[in-house]
């Protein structure tokens, strides 16, 4: 049975259409990568999954139930930036989920509960490879370490679905490769369903077991915003390749061309 099902989603802001006729169903444990030209609604789709935004038409079901109309702990999120709390140290960033959950009024834990949360946070720190940085503030971390922290923070609530909005977009290539490995190992370990928006098509092929491409299929030259984007490719991947096909080579020129047109 499909785990995440989007049924005929449409999103428009007044006369500006962003998404149209978006339908997709994704099985539990899928690593779904999402690519497409700039401004074609990838991130909008992710915000719909998150509940941060509502579709004009259509609905999204998770496990057979319509998703709540606001972000909840069932769906974790990592943004490209501003993902962690700048006023908390690394360790505090990782204990705050437990404090939200355990103390509705004070949002602070004391005594044994606090020690437990700290232990859990420290274990997560070590696992994610920033064990030495517990007392630093995010501004004192490199970009890669900040994103490690953001991922670790999102994992603490053990979400069933992890959403990533270009999480490695601002990182150096070397760091990016490390982060991809980290993400893959977390995915294998937890069996989470992951949706990841990326600009990097090689990354999308390398990480995903499912790759969906957003693009506009209808164009009105007099009113470019009249039609929204939809899913133009929906590919199942195995070890970075299309099943029995050299998918990346087949698809790359298509997207690069769109990207070029969109930027022109």
């Amino acid at each position: 049975m499909s785990f995440v099902v989007a049924k005929n989603l449409w999103v428009s802001y007044g006369p500006v259409s962003i998404l149209e006729r978006v339908s997709v169903s994704v099985e539990r444990g899928t690593f779904c990568t999402i690519v497409g030209a700039s401004g074609c609604g990838k991130s909008t789709f992710l915000r719909l999954l998150l509940g941060q935004e509502q579709a004009t038409r259509g609905e999204i079901h998770v496990d057979g139930k319509a998703i709540p109309a606001e972000p909840t702990p069932e769906r974790g999120i990592v943004f490209q930036k501003y993902s962690v709390f700048p006023h908390l140290t690394v360790l505090q960033n990782l204990t705050i989920p437990a404090e939200f959950g355990g103390a509705p009024v004070t949002a602070r834990l004391f005594g044994r509960a606090k020690a437990e949360a700290s232990d859990k946070a420290r274990a997560m720190l070590a696992k994610i490879g920033i064990g030495h940085a517990g007392d630093l503030y995010p501004a004192q971390l490199s970009g890669g370490m900040q994103q490690r922290l953001a991922i670790a923070q999102a994992l603490l609530k053990q979400p069933k679905i992890l959403l990533l909005d270009e999480p490695f977009g601002a990182l150096d290539p070397g760091i990016r490769a490390d982060m991809q490995e980290l993400l893959l190992s977390i995915w294998r370990e937890t069996g989470m369903t992951i949706f990841m928006v990326t600009h990097d098509i090689a990354e999308a092929f390398r990480l995903g077991t499912r790759l969906i491409v957003f693009d506009k299929v209808r164009h009105d030259p007099h009113m470019p915003s009249a039609y929204g984007a939809t899913i133009t490719y929906d590919l199942r991947l195995k070890n970075g390749k299309l099943d029995g096909d050299t998918g990346e080579r087949m698809l790359a020129p298509v997207i690069l061309e769109k990207e070029r047109v969109a930027h022109a």
């Binding site: 943004f79 700048p86 999102a154």
Partner: protein
């Protein structure tokens, strides 16, 4: 090397920083000396020893009628009004500013009102305050509150609204309720900005304090200045102005130091003046 790339060393920086102060004092002393040489009874530019004597009398000699040490009772009275007013403003800024910036319904209800209140020239409220609250402490503190609170509420509301939406969403996905979001995400992040708002608000607060004291008071730094003005007592007025400036400076530096110490994360990058 071009001027824009020449940086003063440590010693030079101190000399340059002190230069204008020394020039000002020297210019005053020359002017004072010339006037006193022409007329020893001149009151306009008293000499430094004259000012010292006058302020010594106010600080360390009890006043005949009340037995008070006027400099200190004036300072205590003014500071109580100033800090009381600023504290109430800061509290209002938190109580109204955070909901305005964070909660859409509160914003819809509060933002237009606060914006309108901001535009009332506070000093025009002073007669109303005197009528309603009488000439006592309440109306003076209220003037400071009315003069500084609306601006501080807006500053805090804006600061909360400027928190990236990513952080709010992140908080929601980590299970925070609205109150927890205020307590752990919004409040600690805007505290350094509240301190900055207090530092900037102290300027207008002094103006309102001195104005209120000048018009109706029986003590306070502003009261004393306007009282002795009748006798052309520049030997008291000038040291009082310097004393007020010093207090303002110390308050500002204390607040900055507190912010740097307590909210270190906010001062990690960029210079703060």
């Amino acid at each position: 090397m071009r001027l824009i790339n020449q940086r003063p060393g440590h010693g030079e920086r101190i000399v340059l920083g002190a230069m204008l102060f020394i020039l000002l004092v020297a210019a005053y002393m020359i002017g004072s000396h010339m006037r006193l040489a022409a007329n020893p009874d001149d009151k306009l530019l008293p000499s430094l020893p004259q000012m010292g004597a006058a302020i010594w009398q106010l600080a360390f000699t009890p006043e005949q009628r009340s037995g008070d040490y006027l400099l200190w009772t004036d300072t205590a009275a003014s500071l109580a009004r100033l800090l009381g007013g600023i504290a109430i403003s800061a509290l209002l800024a938190l109580l109204l500013g955070i909901p305005t910036g964070l909660i859409p319904r509160a914003q819809a209800a509060l933002a237009p009102f606060v914006t309108a209140i901001c535009l009332i020239p506070p000093i025009t409220i002073l007669p109303i305050l005197f009528i309603v609250f009488g000439l006592g402490e309440t109306s003076k503190v209220m003037l400071i509150v009315i003069g500084t609170a609306p601006y501080m509420v807006r500053t805090i509301a804006q600061a909360v609204a400027d928190i990236p939406s990513e952080q709010i969403v992140k908080g929601l996905t980590l299970g925070a309720n609205t109150w927890q979001m205020i307590l752990r995400v919004a409040l600690p992040q805007i505290m350094p900005k509240l301190i900055t708002a207090i530092r900037l608000g102290l300027g207008p607060a002094w103006i309102f304090l001195i104005s209120a004291e000048a018009i109706a008071s029986t003590g306070g730094l502003g009261y004393r200045i306007f009282l002795v003005r009748r006798y052309l007592s520049m030997d008291v007025i000038l040291p009082y102005v310097a004393w007020i400036t010093l207090i303002a400076f110390v308050l500002d530096r204390l607040l900055l130091a507190y912010s740097r110490r307590r909210y270190r994360w906010a001062h990690l990058s960029g210079a703060s003046l």
